[in-house]
Assembly symmetry: C2
Homo-oligomer: 340 residues x 2
């Protein structure tokens, strides 16, 4: 039986603190599994959090509440939050990792602030140049991991190489893949295409056969094929790919729904279709994959979507628990050290 | 009445030369409009093209056929095609622009070869540093132009600025927009985000109010909102955004179709839904927007999709005709010269 202790920022996100406390409760009731003993340190403003906490007995009895006088706002600049919000719930939750009180943190708050504070307070793992943001995405068949999603706008070959090692460790610990297939995003699959950094990263990756299962380049047109476990890109490109694809998916799905609801006859018959559709499109439901992982930091830091409801937040907690229980950071350190 | 003469590479694309000749016929029958006199020079291998050409009387009577002994293959490297395929239909069609025989070329052939040969044979317009690939994309409401789609993997601020000027001219001539709204793709809308090149391009663009209607940054999550006419990105990012979005659209649409066809009851009722869906999703039909424009070259060069059928190829021809008739290149030259 492993003991996992996680810090929760109760004040981050559009529906906090209710969605957060309900999310912890949802985690206990639906996602905890049988082999782990999980408890929480919950950081937030007493007057807002305690009245809710008192209603969720299982959460209450498995957590320690820590009152924080300040809150980081969604439009705070990262540099401002880092300097001026040291008494906030997010800052205090991250400090709890450094103190050794907890091993991970989950927050739905300001992404830039979370990265800036986590990087400053925790620092990076040994020999890691830059942290990266990674998340899990669906395909028609199996899920894959995409990184970086925006922590770094310009990446050199060494950083891209490290992202591959970190992404591979993430795929092992969170997706349970044995020998994750890693690919490098490029705009052509010929070796001559792409930027200098990408071509150099390719050369590094193809030599690292002892620690990585590198499959070469992948194009954006192939990212939903489901035959790769980890796709590596710089943060600018990863961010654009993720947002463009999500926006397109939402647009098409809303067009389909609008058409089904647009007249009496399609509405009537649409009932049968909708039922089937929601089961297959449900596979693309972001709730069950909520949570971006900040890889390469001294501690497990999970960013939940700002608009996460309790179900999504519960899944972000599960992400953190899986990463901690399966020693994500130890696997990253061992991967990186074996090539230094 | 304007006279427009266009060179057609009859040998490029998966279904050439049939789809090409039928495409010219489709153009004459459906897209030519009333104010333009269009004729063609058709380049291809006589034994393959002539038997088809003889069946399409309207094409035959409005075109000159030029026999070419060679063909550029879809997997030819651009450098090889440039050096070794000078007798090919594509090469000869591009040379016809330089000779003054025609003012534009349309090809469904090898994109890299088309760009390399066009750049070598035609050169760039005065003061243009690099050509860019642009195309028209749908949103729920109005279409927009995205560039660069892959001609340049790394772009400095000056090139991004020129892409904005060229894209704006393209939106005026092909989409008929009076004062096109131009935006720069970034991963955040705050002025501090993005790469150095993007931030410098932003500074250049916001000072060019006399020639551009610059609206600032746009994120990939907003690209389908329909309130921007031209989105500027470097070729790597533009290529990834385009391919990721297309792949996601195709995946969701095929999931919907699969579900509708998956059982007797949904199949029966799906008939009503499908009819409505195909009209609204038809807006996303790439056929009517087929054709990427190589902007910044001394001549109008249109790349049609490799898998274009005759309808799609006909629309690529219309692209070329609109660009020529509305003086696209003169507008680019005037835009660029006013800031030099």
């Amino acid at each position: 039986m492993n003991d996992v202790v996680i810090a929760i920022d109760a004040m981050g996100g559009d529906f906090a603190p209710l969605s957060v406390i309900k999310g912890v409760d949802f985690f206990f009731n639906n996602l905890i599994g049988s082999n782990t003993n999980v408890s929480f340190h919950i950081y937030g403003q007493e007057e807002k959090v305690l009245p809710i906490l008192l209603k969720y007995k299982r959460v209450l009895s498995n957590s320690t509440f820590v009152d924080c006088v300040d809150v980081i706002l969604s439009d705070d600049k990262p540099s401002f939050a880092l300097r001026q919000r040291k008494k906030s719930s997010m800052y205090s939750a991250i400090e709890a990792i450094k103190d050794g009180t907890v091993t991970g943190v989950v927050s739905s708050g300001n992404t830039g602030a979370l990265m800036a504070i986590a990087r400053f307070v925790l620092g990076t793992l040994p020999n890691i140049y830059r942290p990266a943001i990674a998340s899990v995405f669906p395909t028609k068949s199996k899920d894959f991991i995409l990184l970086d999603l925006g922590a770094n706008v310009d990446c050199n070959a060494d950083s891209l190489f490290q992202f591959a090692v970190m992404g591979s460790a993430f795929a092992k610990t969170v997706l349970g893949r044995d020998n994750p297939k890693v690919a490098l995003l490029n705009i052509g699959t010929e070796e001559i295409k792409g930027t200098d950094a990408i071509r150099k990263a390719f050369d590094l990756l193809k030599c690292a056969t002892d620690i990585l299962n590198f499959k070469g380049y992948i194009e954006a047109s192939e990212f939903l094929n489901g035959d790769i476990d980890v796709i590596v890109a710089d943060g600018f490109v990863g961010n654009v790919m993720l947002k463009a694809a999500e926006t397109m998916a939402n647009t098409i799905i809303s067009l389909v729904k609008d058409e089904i609801s647009s007249s009496f006859i399609t509405k009537l018959f649409g009932f049968f279709i909708k039922k089937k559709l929601s089961s297959s499109l449900g596979h693309f439901n972001p709730k069950t994959r909520n949570g971006a992982m900040f890889l390469g930091l001294n501690g497990v830091v999970i960013k939940s979507h700002g608009n996460a409801d309790h179900i999504a937040f519960g899944h972000a907690i599960k992400f953190a628990v899986d990463a901690i229980r399966n020693n994500l950071n130890a696997k990253i350190i061992s991967g990186i050290s074996s090539v230094e």
